[in-house]
C-alpha cells in the first residue's frame, strides 16, 4: 500500500512534467533540477510487464502472446524485436504482394502500373479510369498499413514505422502523392527506421511525396528587383509582353517545406530558427523539385532554373552562391543539432512512455541520440531499457489512438482481414483515416487529442460490430467465443484484454452481457470498455 506522501509527490511531479514539457517545446532552457524519477510502485508484476511491452512496443497482444513474452522474458522479446531482420516475415510479404501489390513495387513500377498519363481534354471514360487507378494505389497503401500492423511478426517495426509515418506526415490524397506515398514509406521510413536519423531526414527531403505534399516542388527563386519593376511598369497597360506575363505566374518562393523541416521534422517549433531563417532556407531549397530523368523515370529532380544562386544568410552565417550541396549541408546541420536530438527524443518518449515524459528521461535519451549521431535503434533501446519504461506511473496511462485501438482489437480477437475498407471507414469516423492527415504535424498520440466525447461512440460501435461479426471485410473466428461461460469468462476473455486491476464495474457489465446477450455481447462490452482503451 502506498503512503499518502508518495501520492502527493506523484501529483506534484506530474505537474512539473507538464511544465517541463511546455518549456522544452517553448524553446526555453529548462532550469529545473533534473532529478531522475523514482518508481512510485508497486512494481509491475511479470504479467503486467508482458502486457506493457505488448501494448507499447506491439499493437497489443494476440492469443498466447502474453504467455510467450513471460516465458521468454520481456527483455529478450524486446531484443529480438529491435532487430526486425532476425524475424521471418516471408509469409506476410507474400500476402502483401497478393493483396496490395503496389506497396511492394518500386516507384517506377508503381507509376507504370497505376498511373495513366494526364491528358488535357481527355474523354470522361479515360478520366474515370485514371481516377480509379489512382484511388486503387491510394487504398492499397491504406489497407496494407492496417494489414501489416495487425499481422506482422515484426511488431515493433510496425509501431515505430507508425511513429515516423506521423513525424514525416504526408497526405496521400494530395495530387501525385497518391502514387508516391507507398514508395515514401518504403524508401524513407522503413528503410531508415532502424538506421541513422540523418539519413531518414535527407531521404525525406529528396522524395517526391514530401516535396509535393509540402509544395517545395513548385518553389522557385523569388523575383528580382528588376523583374518586379518591370511588372509594375506593365500593370496598367492593356498589352503585356508574354515574358512579363510569365513572371506573374507561379513564380516565387514557397516557404512551406522550409518551415516544416525545421519546426516539425528536426529542431521543434521556434527553436533556434527565426522567420528570416525560414525564408533563407526556402531559398536554399529552391529547385528541390520533381521531374523525369533522361530515361523517363519520375523522381527527385534538382531544377537549376528554379534555384536561387545568390548568397544566403542562415543561422547567422553566410552561404556563398548556390547549388544542391548547399541544401544537403544545411539539412545535415539540422539533423546534427542538439535541439533536434532533444525534440526527437522528447517525441519518442512521449510515444513510448507517457504523454508528459520526465525531463530527466528525455535528457538522458537525447544524450544517447547526440553521442551516437542519431543511431535510432540505440535511441529506442535507451528508452525501452530505462528504468522509467516499466514504472508503475507509466503503466496503462496512455489512451490508444483510433488506429492503435482498432488494430489491437483485431489482434485480440484474431480477426482475419479480407477487405480493410469497412474497417477504414470506422477509422475515418473515429477521426484517423490512414495517410489522410492533412496537417503536416501528423496525427497526435496524446490522450488530449483523442479523448473527446463523440469519438468513443464510434469505438463502441466498432467493438460491438466486430464482436458480432457484423463488420464487413473482417471475420472473428468461431472458436474465440464458442462455449464461453461465466466460469471461463475471466481466463478466456477478461485476462486476455486486461492485465490486472479491472474495475468491478467492468467485470459486472461483462458478466451481465454474457448472461443477457451471450459471448459476442461480452466480447463487445470488453472491447468497448475503458480498460481496453488504455495502453
Amino acid at each position: 500500500m502506498r503512503r499518502p506522501s508518495d501520492l502527493t509527490r506523484c501529483f506534484q511531479s506530474m505537474v512539473l512534467f507538464v511544465l517541463a514539457g511546455g518549456f522544452l517545446l517553448a524553446g526555453l532552457s529548462p532550469a529545473l533540477a533534473e532529478r531522475p524519477e523514482k518508481d512510485l510502485g508497486p512494481a509491475l508484476t511479470e504479467r503486467e510487464q508482458a502486457f506493457h511491452v505488448l501494448n507499447r512496443l506491439a499493437f497489443g497482444p494476440r492469443a498466447g502472446d502474453v504467455n510467450r513474452v513471460m516465458e521468454m522474458g520481456w527483455e529478450e522479446w524486446v531484443r529480438e524485436q529491435l532487430d526486425p531482420k532476425s524475424i521471418d516475415d516471408d509469409a506476410l510479404n507474400e500476402q502483401l504482394k497478393k493483396k496490395y501489390p503496389s506497396v511492394t513495387m518500386s516507384l517506377g513500377e508503381a507509376l507504370r502500373e497505376y498511373k495513366l498519363p494526364y491528358k488535357k481534354g481527355a474523354d470522361p471514360e479515360y478520366i474515370k479510369r485514371r481516377n480509379q487507378l489512382r484511388s486503387k494505389a491510394r487504398d492499397e497503401l491504406r489497407d496494407a498499413t492496417l494489414y501489416r500492423a495487425v499481422n506482422s511478426p515484426r511488431q515493433f517495426e510496425e509501431v515505430i514505422v507508425e511513429f515516423w509515418r506521423n513525424h514525416f506526415n504526408i497526405d496521400n490524397n494530395k495530387d501525385d502523392v497518391a502514387w508516391t506515398a507507398s514508395d515514401f514509406e518504403n524508401s524513407v521510413i522503413r528503410k531508415h527506421a532502424f538506421g541513422k536519423f540523418e539519413r531518414m531526414l535527407l531521404a525525406s527531403s529528396q522524395h517526391p511525396a514530401m516535396l509535393v505534399y509540402l509544395d517545395n516542388a513548385v518553389s522557385q527563386k523569388p523575383l528580382t528587383e528588376r523583374e518586379l519593376k518591370l511588372m509594375e511598369r506593365y500593370e496598367n497597360r492593356d498589352f503585356v509582353p508574354r515574358s512579363v506575363a510569365a513572371l506573374g505566374r507561379a513564380r516565387g518562393l514557397n516557404e512551406n517545406y522550409a518551415r516544416e523541416i525545421m519546426e516539425l521534422h528536426s529542431l521543434g517549433v521556434d527553436r533556434h530558427y527565426k522567420q528570416r531563417d525560414v525564408t533563407e532556407l526556402a531559398r536554399v531549397l529552391t529547385g528541390w523539385s520533381v521531374g523525369y530523368n533522361e530515361d523517363g523515370e519520375y523522381g527527385f529532380d534538382f531544377k537549376d532554373n528554379y534555384h536561387d544562386d545568390d548568397n544566403k544568410k542562415i543561422f547567422g552565417s553566410t552561404l556563398r552562391g548556390g547549388g544542391m550541396k548547399q541544401g544537403v549541408g544545411v539539412i545535415r546541420e539540422l539533423a546534427d543539432h542538439k535541439y533536434t536530438a532533444e525534440f526527437i527524443s522528447y517525441k519518442l518518449c512521449r510515444y513510448l512512455v507517457r504523454d508528459e515524459p520526465s525531463e530527466a528521461l528525455v535528457d538522458r535519451v537525447a544524450k544517447v541520440f547526440k553521442r551516437t549521431n542519431g543511431d535510432l535503434p540505440k535511441v529506442y533501446e535507451a528508452i525501452i531499457f530505462s528504468d522509467d519504461f516499466m514504472y508503475r506511473q507509466n503503466h496503462r496511462v496512455k489512451f490508444k489512438t483510433p488506429f492503435e485501438y482498432t488494430v489491437s482489437a483485431l489482434r485480440a480477437t484474431g480477426a482475419q482481414i479480407n477487405s480493410a475498407g469497412p474497417t477504414h471507414n470506422m477509422l475515418k469516423k473515429m477521426g484517423q483515416p490512414t495517410y489522410r492527415c492533412i496537417d503536416p504535424t501528423g496525427y497526435y498520440d496524446q490522450a488530449e487529442a483523442w479523448l473527446d466525447p463523440g469519438v468513443l461512440l464510434y469505438r463502441w460501435q466498432f467493438a460491438m460490430s466486430l464482436a458480432n461479426n457484423d463488420l464487413k471485410g473482417v471475420r472473428v473466428p468461431d472458436h474465440l467465443q464458442a462455449n464461453l461461460s461465466a466460469d471461463s469468462l475471466d481466463t478466456r476473455l477478461i485476462q486476455r484484454l486486461v492485465p490486472a486491476r479491472i474495475d468491478p464495474q467492468t467485470r459486472n457489465e461483462a458478466q451481465e452481457a454474457l448472461a443477457k446477450g451471450g459471448a459476442s455481447s461480452a466480447w463487445g462490452v470488453m472491447l468497448g470498455s475503458p480498460e481496453f482503451q488504455q495502453q
Binding site: 509544395d215 508503475r392 496503462r396 473527446d452 466525447p453 461512440l457 468491478p504 451481465e512 468497448g528
Partner: protein, 436 residues
C-alpha cells in the same frame, strides 16, 4: 483596376443597391422581443467544401464577359424559363436558388462578394485550414475560430449543447480546448444503451464506495487513484458525458419526418438545428459541412451537378427559415467556402481552384436586400494572376462582425485573430442584436 467599371457599378447601384426591401416582415425587425427568454442567439455556419463557384451562384449576367468566358456552363439570362433570378441590372441568383432569392427580396439575406483569404494558397486543405482557424499562413494556430470564441467566453453555466457539429466529425473551426460535440449518425441508441451502465460514473462511484465499505480499499481511495486508475476514470467520464449529451439531443431531435425540408442530409441537418434551437437548450454555435463543391468537370449551367447542390442548399435554408419563424431574429446562417474558382471555364466544362469566393448571410439581423463586397469585374487585368477574382474582403472581417453582432464579442479588442489588426472598412451587413 478599371475606373469605368467601378463607376458603372456605382451608378447602377450595385455596390450600395438597396433595392427590394419591400418584403420585410414586421416581426423580423431589429429589437424584436427574444422569444426564447434567456436563449443565446445562434450562429449556423455552413461550410461548402471544395470551393464553391461564386460566379455561377451570384451571376454577373449583364457582363458580356460572363457568357464569353463560360460558353458551356453559363446560365441563361433573366426572363424566359429557367433564367437567372434578377437581383438588379447586373447580378442575379442562379435559378436553383429560388428560396434564397426570396429571402433576399424580404431583406433577410445578403451575399458578400470577393470575400476570402489573404493567403494565396489554392490547396483545399491549406485554404480550409487557414480559414477555419482564421489564421491565414499561420500553421502554429491549431484551434478553430469558433472554438476559440467559445473558449474565450465560457462560463461555469454553459449549456451542455452550447456548440455542436451536425455531422460525425468536428470541422476544424470547432476543434480546440472547448468541449464541442460532433453528433454521430442515427442508430447510435442501441450502442449507447449497451455501454451506458459501464460508463456511468455515478454508479461507478457507488461500486467503489461499496468496495471500500467492504474493506477492499480505504475510504479515501477515491481521491488517491493510481495514474492508471485516473486514466480509466477520465475515459469513463468522457463516455458518460457523450452519452448524456447525445441522449439529450436524440430526445430533442428524434427521428420524425422531414416536413418541408428536402429529403437530403443537409435538409435533415437544418431540421435538427431548428429542433434544437426551438427546444431552448442553449444552442449557440452549430456547424454543418456540405461537401462536393469542387467542380473541375461538368459542373453544368442551368441544370447539372452544381445546380442541384445550390437547389438543395436553397431549399434547406428556405425550409429552415419558415420553420424557425420569428426565431430567425436571433439566428444567423452563414455560408462559406475555402476559395472561389477560375473566372474562365476549363477544358472539362468545369472550373479550377481560384481565389475570392462569396459568402451568404441569412437571418433577421442581416441588413439584407443588398449585395456587399467590392466587385471589380472579370477583365483579365483585374484578376489575380490573370485568372481569379481578387479578394477585397478578408473573411476575418466577416467573422469579426458576426461575433460582434450576435454576441457583442469584439474580436479586434480581444486580439482574437493572430497577427491581424483590421484596418478594413466594416462590411456592415449585420444589425447588432447583442447587448453592448
Amino acid at each position: 483596376m478599371s475606373p469605368t467599371r467601378r463607376d458603372f457599378l456605382k451608378q447602377s447601384g450595385l455596390v450600395l443597391g438597396a433595392s427590394g426591401l419591400s418584403g420585410l416582415t414586421p416581426s423580423l425587425t431589429y429589437g424584436a422581443p427574444n422569444v426564447d427568454g434567456s436563449q443565446p442567439p445562434t450562429l449556423v455556419v455552413v461550410y461548402l467544401r471544395g470551393g464553391q463557384d461564386p460566379i455561377n451562384s451570384i451571376i454577373p449576367y449583364a457582363d458580356p464577359l460572363y457568357a464569353k468566358l463560360r460558353p458551356t456552363i453559363k446560365v441563361n439570362p433573366p426572363g424566359g424559363g429557367g433564367g437567372v433570378l434578377k437581383i438588379n441590372k447586373y447580378f442575379g441568383f442562379h435559378p436553383a436558388m429560388k428560396e434564397i432569392a426570396e429571402l433576399y427580396d424580404q431583406g433577410m439575406m445578403c451575399p458578400i462578394l470577393n470575400c476570402g483569404s489573404t493567403h494565396p494558397t489554392r490547396s483545399h486543405f491549406d485554404a480550409q485550414d487557414f480559414m477555419e482557424r482564421a489564421a491565414p499562413g499561420i500553421k502554429s494556430v491549431t484551434e478553430g475560430w469558433l472554438n476559440r470564441y467559445l473558449y474565450a467566453t465560457q462560463t461555469s453555466e454553459d449549456a451542455d449543447l452550447r456548440a455542436l457539429s451536425l455531422q460525425s466529425t468536428l470541422p476544424r473551426s470547432m476543434r480546440g480546448q472547448y468541449g464541442t460535440l460532433a453528433v454521430p449518425g442515427y442508430g447510435a441508441n442501441q450502442v449507447m444503451s449497451t455501454f451506458e451502465d459501464l460508463y456511468d460514473c455515478d454508479s461507478n462511484k457507488e461500486a467503489r464506495k461499496k468496495n471500500a465499505a467492504e474493506g477492499d480499499k480505504p475510504a479515501e481511495a477515491e481521491t488517491e487513484l493510481l495514474p492508471e486508475e485516473a486514466m480509466r476514470l477520465r475515459i469513463a467520464e468522457t463516455g458518460d458525458e457523450s452519452i448524456r449529451k447525445l441522449r439529450q439531443i436524440n430526445k430533442l431531435v428524434g427521428n420524425g419526418g422531414q416536413g418541408n425540408y428536402p429529403k437530403t442530409t443537409l435538409g435533415r441537418q437544418f431540421r435538427d438545428v431548428a429542433k434544437l434551437i426551438k427546444a431552448g437548450e442553449g444552442l449557440e454555435v452549430a456547424a454543418i459541412d456540405y461537401n462536393g463543391w469542387d467542380h473541375h468537370a461538368y459542373q453544368g449551367g442551368n441544370q447539372g451537378t452544381m445546380s442541384n447542390m445550390l437547389g438543395n442548399l436553397s431549399k434547406s435554408i428556405g425550409a429552415f427559415v419558415k420553420d424557425m419563424g420569428p426565431r430567425m431574429d436571433r439566428t444567423l446562417v452563414l455560408t462559406m467556402s475555402e476559395f472561389g474558382r477560375t473566372v474562365r471555364e476549363n477544358g472539362n466544362n468545369g472550373t479550377d481552384h481560384g481565389r475570392a469566393g462569396c459568402m451568404m448571410a441569412i437571418g433577421g439581423m442581416v441588413k439584407g436586400g443588398q449585395v456587399y463586397g467590392k466587385w471589380t469585374g472579370m477583365e483579365r487585368r483585374n484578376l489575380v494572376d490573370g485568372r481569379d477574382l481578387k479578394v477585397h474582403t478578408d473573411f476575418r472581417r466577416v467573422f469579426a462582425e458576426t461575433l460582434a453582432s450576435l454576441y457583442g464579442f469584439e474580436a479586434d479588442k480581444e486580439d482574437f485573430f493572430p497577427e491581424y489588426k483590421s484596418r478594413e472598412k466594416p462590411v456592415g451587413f449585420l444589425k447588432r442584436i447583442a447587448d453592448a
